[in-house]
C-alpha cells in the first residue's frame, strides 16, 4: 500500500465517522443512541481496553535490566556522573521519566541527516531539527489543556484550575487576533496550537520522503480524527454556537449516570461527541497506547545499577554449559605438555 492509498483510506474513514452522527441524529434523530449508548460504550471500551492492555504488558516480566544509558555512569567520586540520563537509583529514574513524559527529552535530541556527495566524497552532517519535538510537545500539551478546560462542562461547580487555565489560555490572545471583538469569544491559544501542530505532523508525513514510506493508515487516521475533533470543537465555540447550558446539563448527568440526551442542540455537537467516542474506543487498540507504554519502557524506567544491585530473572532456567572438567579432559595432554597446571594428572598405566 502506498501513501496515496493510505491517506485516501484514512480520509474516507474519517468522513464516514463524521457522516454517521450527521445522518443518525440529523435525519433519524437517534439522540439516545448517539448521546447515551455510544458514549457509554466508547468510554467503557476505553477504560477496559487500556486496563487490559496495560495488565497484559505487565504480565510479561522484565528479565534483564536494560536501560539505554545516555550519560556518564556512577563511577569514582572524582568523575562527574549524569544521574538523570544514566540514573543509578529510583530518584534518578523518576526524574528521567518526568523529563521523558513531560518534556519529550529523547525526542529533543533529534537531528536531521544532511548527506551530500561532492567531488567523489561524502559529507555527513547531523543538522539541528527540533520541529518534530516542538510540534509533538505543542500538540500533546494543547490537547491536555483543552481536555482540562472541558471540565467546565463535566462538573456542576467549575473547578478553580479551569478558570486559571481559561484565563491563561485566553489572556494571551486578547486583542492579538483580528477576530476578537466581532462577536466571537476570545480565541484560546491552545485551539490554534493544536490544529497547527496536527497539521504539521500530518504534512511532514507526506512531505518527508522517508516519513511517507513508513507511514501507515494507522498513522494518518488518528491525526485526521483528532484534527476533525478539533475543528468540530472550534466550529462549535467560535462559529456555529450551541447552547452551552444544555451541553453542561448533559455532561453532568452523563457522569452522574443519569444521562439525558441533549435536546434542541445542533448536530455539530453530536458530531464532535461521536468523533471523540470513535477516538477513545479506537485508542486501546492503536499506537495511541504509547501514552501508557512509555511508563513501562525498560530502556527508560530502570536504573543502571546492574553492577552493584543484582537483577533477578523470574523465568531463569539452568542451561547446559561446557565445564572446566570437560575442557580439561579434552586438552589435558596438551596442557601438561605446555606446562599449564591441571586439576587431574594424566594417569600413567
Amino acid at each position: 500500500m502506498n501513501f496515496i492509498l493510505s491517506v485516501i483510506i484514512s480520509l474516507i474513514a474519517v468522513v464516514v465517522v463524521i457522516l454517521i452522527p450527521w445522518v443518525g441524529v440529523g435525519a433519524f434523530d437517534l439522540r439516545v443512541l448517539f448521546g447515551i449508548v455510544i458514549p457509554y460504550a466508547a468510554i467503557s471500551i476505553f477504560i477496559v481496553g487500556i486496563v487490559v492492555k496495560v495488565l497484559d504488558w505487565g504480565r510479561s516480566p522484565v528479565p534483564f535490566r536494560i536501560p539505554t544509558t545516555a550519560g556518564q555512569e556512577w563511577s569514582f567520586p572524582w568523575i562527574k556522573t549524569n544521574p538523570v540520563d544514566n540514573p543509578k537509583g529510583k530518584g534518578g529514574v523518576i526524574i528521567r521519566m518526568l523529563f521523558e513524559v513531560l518534556l519529550f527529552r529523547s525526542l529533543f535530541r533529534n537531528t536531521r541527516l544532511e548527506y551530500t556527495f561532492k567531488d567523489g566524497a561524502a559529507k555527513i552532517d547531523h543538522e539541528w531539527e527540533k520541529w518534530l519535538w516542538l510540534a509533538a510537545l505543542l500538540f500533546h500539551w494543547s490537547f491536555l489543556v483543552i481536555f482540562l478546560r472541558h471540565f467546565r462542562f463535566f462538573v456542576q461547580q467549575i473547578p478553580g484550575f479551569v478558570h486559571l487555565l481559561e484565563s491563561l489560555d485566553g489572556f494571551l490572545q486578547l486583542g492579538v487576533l483580528p477576530v476578537t471583538g466581532f462577536g466571537v469569544p476570545d480565541v484560546y491559544l491552545t485551539d490554534l496550537l493544536l490544529l497547527i501542530a496536527l497539521a504539521y505532523l500530518f504534512i511532514r508525513r507526506l512531505y518527508i520522503p522517508h516519513m511517507r514510506f513508513i507511514s501507515l493508515p494507522a498513522d494518518y487516521f488518528p491525526l485526521l480524527l483528532i484534527f476533525s475533533l478539533g475543528i468540530s470543537g472550534v466550529l462549535m465555540r467560535y462559529f456555529i454556537r450551541v447552547d452551552i447550558t444544555v451541553v453542561k446539563e448533559f455532561a453532568v448527568g452523563f457522569f452522574k449516570f443519569s444521562p439525558k440526551a441533549p435536546e434542541g442542540i445542533g448536530v455539530i455537537f453530536y458530531i464532535h461527541l461521536f468523533i471523540l467516542c470513535v477516538l477513545i474506543a479506537y485508542f486501546p487498540f492503536s499506537k495511541l497506547m504509547h501514552f501508557a507504554g512509555v511508563f513501562l519502557s525498560p530502556t527508560r524506567n530502570l536504573s543502571n545499577n546492574n553492577r552493584f544491585v543484582r537483577h533477578v530473572n523470574p523465568w531463569d532456567y539452568p542451561v547446559k554449559t561446557h565445564t572446566y572438567e570437560e575442557y580439561e579432559d579434552e586438552f589435558r595432554e596438551k596442557m601438561v605438555e605446555a606446562g599449564l597446571p591441571v586439576d587431574k594428572q594424566i594417569e600413567t598405566t
Partner: protein
C-alpha cells in the same frame, strides 16, 4: 566473495525511498557483499542447536524445517510472554521517524528497510497479523501481513544488518530499542537454524576451547609467551605470563581477539606490561585458558547461548578461588557483564567486593558483578599516581577516541577512557559531538557482522564513523583512532584503510604501555609496534 565497490562509487547514496511503492510490495533482494554466509552444520551440532545443515542464503532453498512457521509462531508467543520489552516495542511505536536517519546502516546504504523503524516493522507487521485483533481483521489496512518464506528471508536479511548498537533507542521518545527487537528476531531465526557462519562458528569455538578463535590452551600460552619476547626486545624486560593459577587474587579475562591479531595484540601486550609493572606493588593476577574469551557471540544468537558461554567467567573464578575479576577492553562484552552476567549466572557469592590491591580503592559500582573494567582500574592507578608515565612517547600520535556502542549506551563509560588517554597522550581531539559519547556511531561490524564476505555492508555501516574520523583528521591531523573494543580493533583497520587511510587504530592500553616508564628498562627507541618513538628516528637501526 563479492567485490566491494570503491569509496567514491559507494558514496553515491540516495536516501529517498521509492515514491509510489509501499514497503510491503517491495520484495527482498538478498545481495552478496551485504549478507553473511549461512551457519555450518558442525557448529550448530556442537551447540545442540536446531536444523544443522549446509545452506546458502543466496540460493532459493534455505532447507527450512517442514513446520518452520509453527516454530516461529510458538517462538514469538513464548518471547512475547517472557519479555515485556518485546511486547511493548511491538505495540507502541508511532512511526515518528526520529530513529530513521540515526542508523549507520541506513546512512551508509540508503536502503529504507534499514531505518530502525522499518526494520522493526518487518517483524511488527507479522506480530499484528498473528497476535492483534486489528491485524487479523483488517490485514494490510492495519499494517499486518502473513509470514511467508519471503518475509522470513527479509527478516533474516535485515536482522543481520543490525549491529545492536542502540543508537536508535537513544532518540526514540519511548525508548524502543531496535537492538532488543533484533535480539528477539535473531532468537527466532536460530530456532530454525538461520544463523550466520561468523556467529555460529565463534560460538561453537568458544564453547569448546574457551574462546571465539578456537585457540587451544597450549597455543594460547604460546601466543602470550611470544608477546613477552616482543616486549623484551623493546623494553629489555622479561615478563612471565601466568595461567590458570589457583589462589590468584584476580582473574583477568579479555577478548581473544587481543591475543590473535594486530593491533589488538599491542593492547594485549599493554595489559601484560601493566600487570608486570604492578607485580612488585602487590598485584596478584592470572589469565585463564578456559575462560579465555571476554566477548560473547552467544549474545548475538540468543539469551540462552549467551548465558551458556558467559557461565565460564564465574565458574573459572570459583575454581581458581579468585577474589574478583578484571575485564579487558571490549564492547559487547561489557554490555553483557554490566546488564546480563549477574542475572544470567550470579550471584557471584564466591567472590569479594573488588578492591584495588595497589591503591586500596573500592570499586563500589561493581559490588555485585565483582568485575572491574581495566580502564577504570588504570584510571584509578593514574589518579593515585601509581604509574610513572611519559606521555611524550606518544607525541607522534594525534589521537581521537571512538566510544564503542555497548560501553556507551549499555553502561555509560565515557570519562574513564578519556581520562586515561589524556594522561598518556599529549594530543587528544574529540570528534563532533553528534558522533561521540551516547551519540556514538557504530563501527558497522558489531554483533557478529565482522565477517569478510559482507565487506560492502561493513564499509557502508562504518561510513558515518569514518566520516567523523575523517573530519578530525582533516581539521587537526588526527592519525590514531583509539578504542576500547576488540571488535573495533579488528574491523577499524579495514574501515580506515577504505575511508581514511592516514589513520591507524589502537587500544587504550597500548597507549598506556608505550608511556609506562619501567625501572631498569633499556632506553626505549620504538613503541610496541616497533615504530621509532618521537625523536628516536635515527636510532632505529642501532
Amino acid at each position: 566473495m563479492a567485490d566491494t565497490p570503491k569509496p567514491d562509487e559507494l558514496s553515491k547514496i540516495d536516501h529517498k525511498p521509492p515514491l509510489l511503492r509501499g514497503w510491503m510490495d517491495i520484495p527482498v533482494d538478498i545481495k552478496p557483499g551485504i549478507c553473511c554466509y549461512g551457519s555450518k552444520p558442525k557448529d550448530l551440532e556442537y551447540m545442540s542447536m536446531p536444523n544443522p545443515r549446509d545452506w546458502n542464503p543466496l540460493e532459493d532453498d534455505w532447507k527450512l524445517p517442514e513446520d518452520w512457521e509453527d516454530i516461529i509462531d510458538k517462538g514469538m508467543k513464548d518471547r512475547l510472554g517472557k519479555f515485556r520489552s518485546f511486547k511493548l516495542f511491538m505495540d507502541i511505536c508511532v512511526r515518528c521517524g526520529a530513529c530513521a536517519d540515526k542508523c549507520h546502516f541506513f546512512i551508509g546504504s540508503g536502503d529504507p528497510k534499514n531505518m530502525p523503524v522499518m526494520r522493526a516493522e518487518l517483524i511488527r507487521s507479522v506480530y499484528r497479523k498473528k497476535f492483534t485483533a486489528g491485524g487479523k481483521l483488517l490485514g494490510k489496512l492495519a499494517g499486518a501481513r502473513n509470514l511467508t518464506e519471503d518475509v522470513l528471508k527479509e527478516w533474516w536479511y535485515y536482522l543481520y544488518q543490525c549491529t545492536e548498537c542502540r543508537r536508535c533507542s537513544l532518540f526514540c521518545p519511548y525508548g524502543i530499542d531496535m537492538a532488543e527487537i533484533t535480539i528477539m528476531g535473531r532468537e527466532l531465526t536460530n530456532l530454525i537454524g538461520l544463523n550466520i557462519d561468523w556467529i555460529a562458528a565463534p560460538v561453537a569455538n568458544c564453547y569448546r576451547t574457551g574462546n571465539h578463535l578456537g585457540i587451544q590452551p597450549h597455543a594460547y600460552k604460546d601466543m602470550l609467551e611470544f608477546f613477552t619476547d616482543e616486549i623484551e626486545d623493546i623494553t629489555g624486560i622479561k615478563m612471565e605470563p601466568d595461567f590458570n593459577r589457583k589462589g590468584a587474587e584476580i582473574l583477568f579475562i579479555t577478548p581473544s581477539g587481543d591475543v590473535f591479531a594486530d593491533p589488538g595484540t599491542f593492547t594485549c601486550m599493554g595489559y601484560m606490561m601493566l600487570f608486570y609493572y604492578l607485580k612488585s606493588m602487590g598485584l596478584d593476577i592470572t589469565w585463564s585458558t578456559y575462560a579465555s574469551e571476554g566477548g560473547n557471540f552467544g549474545f548475538f544468537t540468543s539469551h540462552e547461548v549467551a548465558k551458556r558461554l558467559n557461565a565460564k567467567m564465574y565458574a573459572e573464578s570459583k575454581r581458581l578461588g579468585s577474589k574478583w575479576i578484571l575485564g579487558g577492553e571490549c564492547g559487547h562484552m561489557w554490555r553483557v557483564i554490566n546488564q546480563y552476567m549477574d542475572t544470567f549466572n550470579g550471584p557471584a557469592d564466591h567472590l569479594e567486593n573488588p578492591v584495588s590491591p595497589i591503591t586500596g580503592t573500592k570499586f563500589e559500582n561493581a559490588n555485585s558483578t565483582k568485575m572491574v573494567h581495566i580502564v577504570e582500574f588504570t584510571a584509578d592507578l593514574i589518579k593515585n599516581n601509581k604509574l610513572k608515565l611519559d606521555a611524550s612517547r606518544n607525541d607522534n600520535l594525534k589521537v581521537t577516541f571512538h566510544d564503542s556502542c555497548n560501553p556507551a549506551r549499555g553502561m555509560g563509560f565515557f570519562e574513564e577512557p578519556r581520562y586515561v588517554i589524556k594522561k598518556v597522550c599529549n594530543n587528544f581531539y574529540e570528534m563532533p559531538p553528534n558522533t561521540i559519547r551516547e551519540q556514538t556511531f557504530c563501527c558497522g561490524s558489531g554483533a557478529g557482522l565482522n565477517a569478510g564476505e559482507d565487506m560492502e555492508l561493513r564499509m557502508r555501516g562504518g561510513m558515518p564513523r569514518a566520516n567523523a574520523v575523517k573530519h578530525v583528521h582533516e581539521k587537526f591531523g588526527v592519525n590514531m583512532l583509539a578504542c576500547i573494543c576488540a571488535i573495533d580493533r579488528a574491523v577499524f583497520p579495514d574501515l580506515m584503510r577504505y575511508w581514511v587511510p592516514e589513520v591507524d587504530v589502537t587500544g587504550v592500553h597500548e597507549l598506556v604501555a608505550n608511556a609506562l616508564v619501567f625501572e631498569g628498562e633499556k632506553k626505549r627507541t620504538t613503541n610496541l609496534r616497533g615504530e621509532p618513538l618521537p625523536g628516536m628516528e635515527d636510532e632505529e637501526d642501532v
